[in-house]
């Protein structure tokens, strides 16, 4: 349960950034492992790519691109917050990061289906 003192948009922006970062840390080694198959085991890579061509994998890919984009834009938001003069529209910046991430991930999904 979200404890009451955490129930505000900028805390959600923080937790999304933290969890997306952790999810990417878990994903990236698997990603590089699969990429590595291009050098070591081409047949296995081909069959994996064929297998991944199903709707569930596409939905998961959308999720991954979203995580990547939301972490990227959220990180840029923090860099702006910490390195430039303060803006009073922090909540709008956080909303814009999430919105942009949706646009990027949605665009990716439209491209692949």
């Amino acid at each position: 349960m979200i404890r009451p003192h955490r129930n505000h948009p900028l805390w959600f922006a923080f937790i999304v950034h933290r969890l997306s970062g952790l999810a990417l840390v878990i994903f990236l080694p698997m990603h590089f492992y699969v990429l590595g198959m291009a050098l070591t085991n081409v047949d296995q890579l081909d069959s994996f790519l064929q297998w991944s061509n199903n709707p569930v994998s596409k939905a998961a890919e959308f999720g991954l691109v979203f995580l990547l984009a939301v972490h990227l834009f959220g990180g840029l938001r923090l860099l702006v917050l910490e390195n430039f003069d303060w803006r009073d529209w922090q909540k709008s910046l956080a909303a814009a990061s999430a919105g942009l991430a949706f646009v990027v991930a949605g665009g990716f999904l439209l491209n692949v289906v």
Partner: protein, 252 residues
């Protein structure tokens, strides 16, 4: 309507009661006790606590002094959120006729609603929150332009009443008890911007230390709950920039 003796005037309306759960106990153990308090016009959360102590349970311990938002001693956790209780109207926070009142988080409980604020104030000292003069009374008064960048930065952060609400809202303080916390760093930031102060190098060293500004995750709970509408996150971001410049110059 409330009469001169603070008792409701005679009306045909049944009295509206608020169900108030108050945390009772000490550092070792405790739990909630429920009281029923009559609702009044313009009643603050502190009024409710005072009503309980005067009329229902004289052993209830809590802290307050000014009742007008000046002294910073009445901080409590109200329905899960840290607040100054003397300036929090009950009508703003009551949910379904109920109210939960607990001591502030991140500080050791002393008894009931009173917490030990010693570590909170010790951190102000640790963060070099005291002004170190560089002149004597015989020198000329140093002119500080009111519209200089430094003066405006200090002005924006200086009206802190030491209530501990931000400290109680900060998750990093809960996760890492050594962290100086939003109020102490906010205070230091006002001095970082004071050209008359003579302890800048030492102050920046503390702010750059393991207990310092780099712990802050900028999730802005401190700024969300500060009753004086200060923004410790902005001050800490300013400190981070100063520390970064000092680190690049090899000063910290």
């Amino acid at each position: 309507m409330v009469g001169a003796n603070n008792k409701p005037e005679e009306t045909d309306q049944p009295e509206v009661m608020i169900e108030v759960s108050v945390w009772r106990g000490d550092a070792e153990a405790g739990g909630f006790r429920t009281y029923h308090v009559p609702s009044r016009q313009s009643q603050t959360v502190l009024d409710i606590v005072t009503y309980i102590q005067r009329n229902l349970d004289p052993e209830l311990t809590y802290r307050f002094a000014c009742r007008v938002g000046m002294c910073g001693s009445c901080g409590m956790t109200v329905n899960g959120k840290p607040r100054w209780t003397c300036r929090t109207h009950a009508s703003q926070v009551i949910s379904n006729g109920k109210l939960t009142i607990e001591p502030l988080r991140n500080m050791t409980k002393v008894k009931d609603l009173a917490v030990d604020m010693t570590p909170f104030f010790d951190k102000w000292v640790e963060a070099k929150g005291a002004f170190v003069p560089t002149k004597t009374r015989h020198d000329e008064i140093e002119a500080i332009k009111p519209d200089s960048k430094e003066r405006r930065a200090a002005d924006a952060a200086v009206e802190c009443i030491n209530c501990g609400v931000c400290y109680s809202a900060c998750d990093v303080v809960a996760w890492k008890p050594d962290y100086l916390g939003p109020a102490a760093i906010n205070r230091s930031w006002t001095l970082v911007n004071d050209p008359r102060d003579g302890a800048q190098a030492e102050r920046l060293k503390v702010l750059a230390s393991d207990a310092g500004c780099s712990n802050c995750h900028s999730h802005q709970s401190c700024a969300t709950y500060c009753p004086n509408l200060l923004n410790p996150t902005r001050s800490i971001a300013g400190v981070k920039r100063r520390v970064m410049v000092a680190a690049l110059k090899g000063e910290v």
